[in-house]
Assembly symmetry: C5
Homo-oligomer: 323 residues x 5
């Protein structure tokens, strides 16, 4: 589904046109370019675009079928970039992923989106507001999209930092919480983020080094900035992953300590009942000569003895930390 | 056993010939090539082929004896490639492996298969249907075979993703399941996949970089595509492996938590019987003056007392989560 | 907030001037340079500086917004460096972080600080005392700041060494201490340090290799010295991290051993009461012919028997290490 | 001790000679070379050889003293190679190691062996049977020895695969086996293999790349083959090592699960005896009015009650998997 | 403190001189050099040497203050090397560290030692005995010192191998030993060794590659030998470290197995007393019609019954491995 299409000239949007071939034909002045935005296109639908803009069949296949790895490919003098998009769904504490494929030629940009959460419309609006960036042509669009996507990575990573902090608090809290599954889920989310961030580093590094033909020379510092943000996301993810591993270890230790505490509590509790039972056993013996049995207050005495012994044990266990 | 042999000219199959030497002699026009497919050949059988096509003795040895590492070798102006094939056997939840060796010369392809599950016949049929790909000669055959094998890797990996999801669900389910052995088996399967995928990356990267002489220049983007799929398989396998490690850790934690729960349940259960036993012990004492013993309803009173205490303990343990 | 600004000529401070544009204009002789120190500037405030010194917008953005990754960037013929600062807060046993951004041109240095604990004022005073270093211009300032920051890293690392030693002592002490959380917190602090140290290594290596234009050639040995200190900090951090992992493992082992000890102690304790209870049970049997029951000293005999058996068990358990 | 010495000319063995200096003097035609095989030589003994063949003192020292790291060194125009040999001792399930040092000059090979299990005699016989290989001179000998040694690595690795399979079966068997020590021993053996295989990879890679002067150009594919086998050994060893780690984890999990099962079995067993004891306690109470006590069949009734309750518990525990 | 100083000419020691400036002045013939050995010099003391030999201030600072990282630096045409020395203190089973700094110029060597255990005096004596090595000038001294220090590394590593073997034996012994702390301490020692060995590898590799100006060309094979020994030390340390990790895991498993064994022993022991107690309980019931109570040998019968049942349980537990 074509979402938006327009011709840009000298940093400004010129009226759109539904006929893309005609639109491209009008991009005849230097710096002119057409930007077509597509969302989850069918194969047939996209075939038409591929013909108009001369897109390479392999790239077209990748763009139509989602679930690609982030990558940057050159076909002749056009560039093909695949990106994963990430966003954090608060209700589910989960990271969702989408995909953007970008075709960049001298005079056109074709952007293809998959997935619900990520949209490029506001990116286009912001870009249209920045005459200067737009004036850099398709390279400017590339930067704008990359910058936005990587900023979203950082936002997702910040949410995960919060989640890890919560898990940490829960691990070291006195409550019995099932932190193992939360840690597992977070590790899984981090894997998701890693799958988006890591393979993108090399393409962005190439852009930052200015070695990708078709991208303007002066753009390198901007891509270095993106590369830097990407590196920050990657480092934070690695840091969180290793923190979670430590947190998991700590959780295991807490379980063991707790089991030990429980075991000692149980034993102390058992002693409180077993020792009086022993006393009852003694006074249940059938010896003919047991003076206490004949005492008037023998029975109360026995009960008192039991209570005293149990109380003494209680105090002793309390003091030695077993209860 | 020779499975199929044919001469290809201008992207089309020309009639086959059982006499391979004659067949090769007919491949005299530019672009002509012979493709001989062999399955688990005996040493003698293959020696004959080696003479006809001038194959290098070291490569012949590797092709006849299976269990080689994936690799790409150049001998003079011919190329020798060894691949592992993978397929997933649903009944056994297991990954099976086979092997394909390919000899590529200017005017011939010799493919050698080992193992039952992988066949090249449909690959040949598909290739014969694509005049264009076939027109690229031995390089086209190389691409077709590689593409197919790597696509099968991705299918196997997808099945493993499902298996890991199942294990994960089982680990966090309330049932007592022996997940350790399932995780172990899956790790083993992942090792199998890794052994096929990892050593193939370097050869395919060389093909993708276009630095292997004997492979046509324009083919590089196609091999880059294969390389990319391979990278995806490799990354997914790594991701699954680390997920399994986390799942195993979580499994260990679950066992500990369960043991703790069991221990507390047992202790609570013990208390329910030990405390009434104590009461019985008290009324089994032989003191002469124990008023309750003379009560008409002393016995029911004692039973009621036991039931009340046990019931109170039950409620208390239920509330504090021990039962 | 501008903290200090001054013109330096031939290694000495020339009187300051509040009007920075005028100050820079006076830096007209070779070797002259202006050093402006700023603390947590607002965007507007800093915009003015950026104009006077011609700072690159991307760098300005990074300098104003803190939480950047350590990095070294070149924009035209000026250099932009971001550093993390670390200091150890004794009361909290915690590592705090701040940030310094440095802009270096041919004739100016702009230093921007974020965070409370790190100050550059004494660095400036020391530098002003060293005419020779100051004579090297902005490169000298760069060295002085880097040297100071990295020295602070080493101090922080030394404090962490002490903390790890304490944790180690606590793990192997006989007391029941909750070392898991202390180890976790220390791992977290080490992660903090790593986040400052690791990304700085590459920029400093470039300075040490003398490949950063704008930094004087003869300065390389000095930056090699800084690079070396940085490597020392990094290696110590890695060493501490792996020591902590081992300490954690040892802690887990201690918990298990302790639980085992407790279990045996409890069992031995239980035996001391259960065996006499059994004896009491025997003499509570109602057989008509039990000679002991009629003995004059039957009761004392039974009590003595119980005490003897319990005493014997006690000695036996003590000797076999169960009590 | 000199084991064998001979002159080889045009791919055939010429009669030996005890006087090595004379033997070497006779190696005057192109392609002629002398091969001297030595076993655990004394320093003096070897000094004599060193003089005759002009061996470098550092290499001589390494050859006489065993326990060197595998390495390839060039001294002038001769090559010095140190190899570890491995063999598997079935009785002990253990990997034994030996050492071979090879000196290769234009017209001589000196091979020095340490350790009992590896012998070069059959390698020499095989080589003498292959006129072609022998015709390649010292380079051919180098290949023959390397090929044989690396093939032995693969055999040892195959034995270890079998051992790991056994351990695996034992870990997941229902029997209580002490797998921890078997896994440890296997890890140790793998370390032994790794110490032989890993450092050899770089020298063989150099031989395979054809960058070692003194080794004939056409030999590269043969050394690539060796390199490939070495890579296979290395990958298998890594795979086994990580499998063993997983197996160990699984073993730990099995122990925990078993402990849990035992604990529940014990508790269930305890319940079977504790509950009847409680019933006995009830009928041991001394209330005056307990109707059952007067029943004719009160005693059998009580025994039946105990049996019924115990039987019911048994069934219940069986059904809930505790017994 | 200056320990020794002398002029060396043509491979022999010429009489020493307390006035170092004069001594250096006499080193005027080609190949002459002065070797000054210093032990823990004060800053002032060393300043004087620095002036005489023209040492770089940064190197002087590092040489006077110990606790540097091993490194090789070039200042102009002189070389500065820092080494860690290691030795094993048998009484404490501990690795001690010291430090050596070496300044090498065309005509001088200044060696600075820190710490007690390492001395260079015997190295100097040995060197003086070897006219040939001494004839290589400062480069020969460098080799002699490096060779000696690295040989000491190997000795320390050999001691640690013995320690690891002991720990291993202790882990798998039947005794209850606290191996966790021994393993921890050994890991710590290995870290100490690693800190000496690892950073030295790169400098020695540079020496072995012959790329350090100021070191004679022909010396490369000698430094390759040192490099090789260093690699051996590093590999052994890595191997020991991973063995210790495995040993620790095995230790954890042993603890668990032991706890399990203890638990079953305790339960079996409990059964031996609880079942007879139940029998006593039965004969303590107050039914009017209990035939056994009236038997003449009822009491002995009951005792025998208890003993029989306990004996039977004992046999059964023994056979099933619980006792």
């Amino acid at each position: 589904m074509i979402v938006d299409s327009a011709l840009y000239r000298a940093g400004a949007r010129v009226q759109g046109d539904d006929d893309l071939a005609a639109l491209r034909a009008r991009a005849c002045e230097p710096g002119d370019f057409v930007w077509v935005g597509v969302h989850e296109p069918s194969e047939n639908e996209f075939q038409r675009l591929a013909e108009i803009f001369g897109l390479h069949p392999l790239a077209v296949e990748d763009a139509v079928r989602a679930h690609q790895r982030p990558k940057l490919e050159r076909f002749g003098d056009s560039v093909f970039l695949v990106l994963k998009t990430l966003w954090y769904v608060d209700e589910a504490d989960a990271v969702e992923t989408g995909e953007i494929a970008l075709f960049l030629g001298r005079d056109f940009v074709v952007s293809v989106r998959h997935g619900a959460g990520n949209e490029l419309h506001t990116a286009r609006l912001e870009l249209e507001a920045s005459r200067k960036l737009l004036g850099h042509g398709p390279g400017g669009v590339l930067y704008a999209v990359l910058d936005r996507v990587v900023d979203e990575y950082l936002q997702v990573v910040d949410e995960l930092v919060v989640d890890v902090d919560e898990v940490e608090a829960s691990v070291f809290s006195a409550e019995r919480t099932n932190d193992a599954s939360r840690i597992y889920v977070l590790k899984r989310e981090l894997g998701e983020v890693r799958r988006a961030v890591m393979p993108l580093r090399e393409p962005v590094a190439r852009l930052a080094a200015g070695t990708v033909t078709g991208v303007p020379d002066g753009a390198a510092p901007f891509f270095r900035d993106v590369s830097d943000h990407l590196a920050r996301a990657a480092e934070t993810v690695d840091g969180l992953d290793s923190l979670l591993s430590s947190a998991f270890d700590a959780h295991l230790a807490q379980i063991s300590v707790q089991q030990n505490d429980d075991m000692r509590k149980i034993s102390a509790g058992a002693a409180l009942i077993v020792v009086p039972t022993f006393i009852a056993g003694v006074y249940g013996m059938n010896f003919h000569h047991m003076p206490e049995l004949g005492w008037t207050f023998g029975y109360p005495f026995a009960l008192l003895l039991m209570a005293t012994v149990a109380g003494g044990l209680w105090v002793w266990f309390k003091k030695s930390g077993w209860l």
